[in-house]
């Protein structure tokens, strides 16, 4: 068995983790190139590669289209997917509940509420405040869930139930804002709420990247904590894991990643739910390999969803969140039915 060891963390590939990571990386690269090359003004994949590598493309306009219009959008889709995939893996792991994605326990709804409130109530404020607002909103919901569900230690089921309640409440308040807000601000908020990477620029890449750069590695160093928490609180305490604060830190990590993603692309549904499921089927439940696999799976999902959204009904564009939900909802049902039989 192959052991990857570094100074900072060790990942022991379970079964085919390293192969899977390699395959996912290749697929992501292929779909990024396809996504950037596809559009009203097609750019050949070779020119896409040349532009990205800083070489002179055969088509003089390619550089502008690739660098300014399409590449940042594709990269934002990738980053959003990675963030959601890792965030979902964390919440499913600590809550020991395969349904507990950030979207389901109310973190995304809280983040969306805060961001919509910002757009509707302060239409003139800079978009760069969105990630912070979303993180704040997600954190407030999470803190409320945690405090309310706390009863001498937080039980997983309680957290999920309280989370669903908060999710509904946050969605209701968001609806109130949308109903009574200024029409122009609301229409902007609605596009964003549907979950879209439309019009993403390098600004979005730059505002999202730091969240991933901090919190994805943090989740990886906590893979062992996630593994023992997955065995139940008593086992985790028994092996010496300071359960409450590690779980808290992991949830903050998850909120930060989900909040960053929601702030950038709105609520891209079901990615935080599906990506960990697919990855778990492929590499098993051990988090060292699972977190990375789920992150890349999420990234691939959103990149492909955005490409489908742009091409399926062209020239009409579907938001990628609609596509992921169209794939995700049946998968969710399939899992439920599969569990019963």
């Amino acid at each position: 068995m192959l052991h990857l060891r570094s100074r900072f963390f060790s990942i022991r590939p379970h079964r085919q983790v390293s192969q899977l990571l390699a395959i996912l990386t290749v697929l992501i690269a292929v779909f990024l190139v396809l996504s950037v090359s596809y559009g009203d003004y097609p750019v050949s994949p070779l020119d896409v590669l040349k532009t990205v590598l800083g070489l002179q493309p055969s088509d003089a306009d390619a550089a502008f289209i690739v660098n300014t219009l399409r590449l940042p959008r594709a990269l934002v889709a990738l980053l959003v997917g990675i963030a959601l995939g890792v965030a979902g893996t964390i919440t499913q792991g600590i809550l020991r509940n395969p349904l507990a994605a950030p979207g389901i326990i109310g973190i995304n709804a809280g983040a969306a509420l805060a961001a919509v409130a910002l757009i509707v109530i302060f239409p003139n404020i800079s978009v760069s405040f969105l990630p912070l607002a979303a993180f704040g909103g997600g954190l407030v919901v999470f803190a409320s869930i945690y405090l309310l569900a706390w009863n001498g230690g937080s039980s997983p089921i309680r957290l999920v139930l309280v989370g669903i309640g908060f999710s509904l409440m946050a969605a209701a308040v968001t609806n109130i804002l949308v109903t009574f807000g200024n029409i122009y601000a609301v229409s902007q908020a609605l596009v964003w709420l549907a979950g879209s990477v439309y019009g993403s620029s390098w600004d979005e890449v730059r505002s999202l990247l730091p969240w991933l750069a901090v919190f994805v590695p943090l989740s990886l160093v906590m893979a062992r904590d996630l593994n023992v928490l997955n065995l139940g609180d008593d086992i985790a305490r028994g092996v010496g894991c300071p359960v409450e604060w590690r779980r808290g830190l992991l949830l903050v990590t998850s909120v930060a990643l989900a909040g960053g993603a929601v702030a950038t692309a709105g609520t891209v549904g079901f990615v935080g739910f599906i990506a960990p499921h697919i990855a778990r089927r492929l590499v098993g439940p051990s988090h060292g390999g699972l977190l990375l696999s789920a992150g890349l799976t999420g990234g691939l999902l959103v990149v492909v969803a955005d490409l489908i959204g742009r091409s399926a009904f062209a020239p009409i564009e579907l938001p990628c969140g609609l596509v992921t939900s169209a794939i995700g909802a049946p998968y969710f049902l399939y899992l439920l039915v599969g569990k019963r039989t």
């Binding site: 022991r12 001498g152 062992r224 139940g232 028994g238 092996v239 098993g284």
Partner: protein, 269 residues
């Protein structure tokens, strides 16, 4: 207390409870080093609560648990995990987790955030798999194993923790008789060959008498009696503690006390 024995785990005026209910009050207890101690008692007598208190899974209301003479409340939880391992009742693993992955998690207290797992960790995992005879099943997912094999895998995880003391809460529940004996034999061997101190909660009095060096009989949160099975077990104790009429005979195989319940079916005939 017997002055000839060392006591690795002791409590002083220990009170334990959940929410408002106080289950154990002002308990003084001493667990002898290198022996198998079995906690027995009727349902709800507080034996599982006591085991959890000893394993710092619940915080004492009052009083102190001492491990090797030092209070467990004042030590880092990881430091305790290097001396004391525990296996709760009916632990559950996520689907698809392999035996080796599970056992490797017993090495948690020896690892840090920025510390890769060491060759020592690998050795401890393999040793734990060997002694529990799980090495060949190492790459199997837990849910594909029999109940007895699964329990051996969990015990292997606790063994990989490499602790002198092992606490087990009803390690034989939900196992059929053959698997119960398999698990208890394994624990006996660990005690004999490696000198590990074992404290476990058992429901079956006969098995407690067969495998325990020492019984602690609990009733309503208090220690009703303690000592070797021969010293402790008699018909009046079973009547007082379990509210059951019985006769105690010598186990024809091991010679340890065997409790034969009388029950209404025989009494009425």
């Amino acid at each position: 207390m017997n002055p000839e024995l060392d006591y690795i785990l002791t409590t002083r005026k220990l009170s334990l409870g959940y929410d408002r209910a106080c289950i154990i009050e002002q308990l003084d207890l001493a667990i002898p080093t290198g022996k198998i101690t079995v906690l027995v008692g009727p349902n709800g007598c507080g034996k599982s609560t006591l085991l959890k208190g000893l394993g710092r899974l619940i915080k004492p209301r009052q009083g102190t648990v001492y491990l090797d003479g030092k209070s467990i409340a004042t030590q880092p939880t990881k430091a305790i995990a290097r001396q004391l391992g525990l296996l709760p009742q009916n632990p559950a693993a996520p689907e698809g987790l392999t035996v080796r992955e599970l056992v490797a998690q017993g090495r948690y207290p020896y690892q840090g955030w920025f510390q890769p797992s060491s060759p020592e960790d690998d050795r401890a995992v393999e040793a734990a798999l060997d002694i529990t005879e799980m090495a060949e099943l190492g790459d199997r997912a837990l849910e594909t194993l029999s109940g007895g094999q699964r329990q051996r895998a969990w015990i292997a995880m606790a063994l990989a923790q490499d602790t002198d003391v092992l606490l087990l809460d009803e390690p034989t529940t939900f196992l059929d008789l053959a698997h119960q004996i398999e698990v208890l034999d394994l624990l006996y061997e660990l005690n004999q060959r490696q000198g590990r101190t074992i404290v476990m909660v058992l429901h079956e009095l006969d098995r407690a008498c067969r495998y325990g060096d020492r019984l602690i009989v609990m009733k309503a949160g208090q220690i009703y009696a303690q000592g070797s099975p021969q010293e402790v077990m008699n018909a009046s104790l079973v009547r007082e503690v379990f509210d059951l009429e019985c006769r105690i005979i010598a186990d024809p195989v091991a010679g340890t006390p065997l409790c034969i319940p009388i029950g209404r079916k025989v009494a009425l005939e």
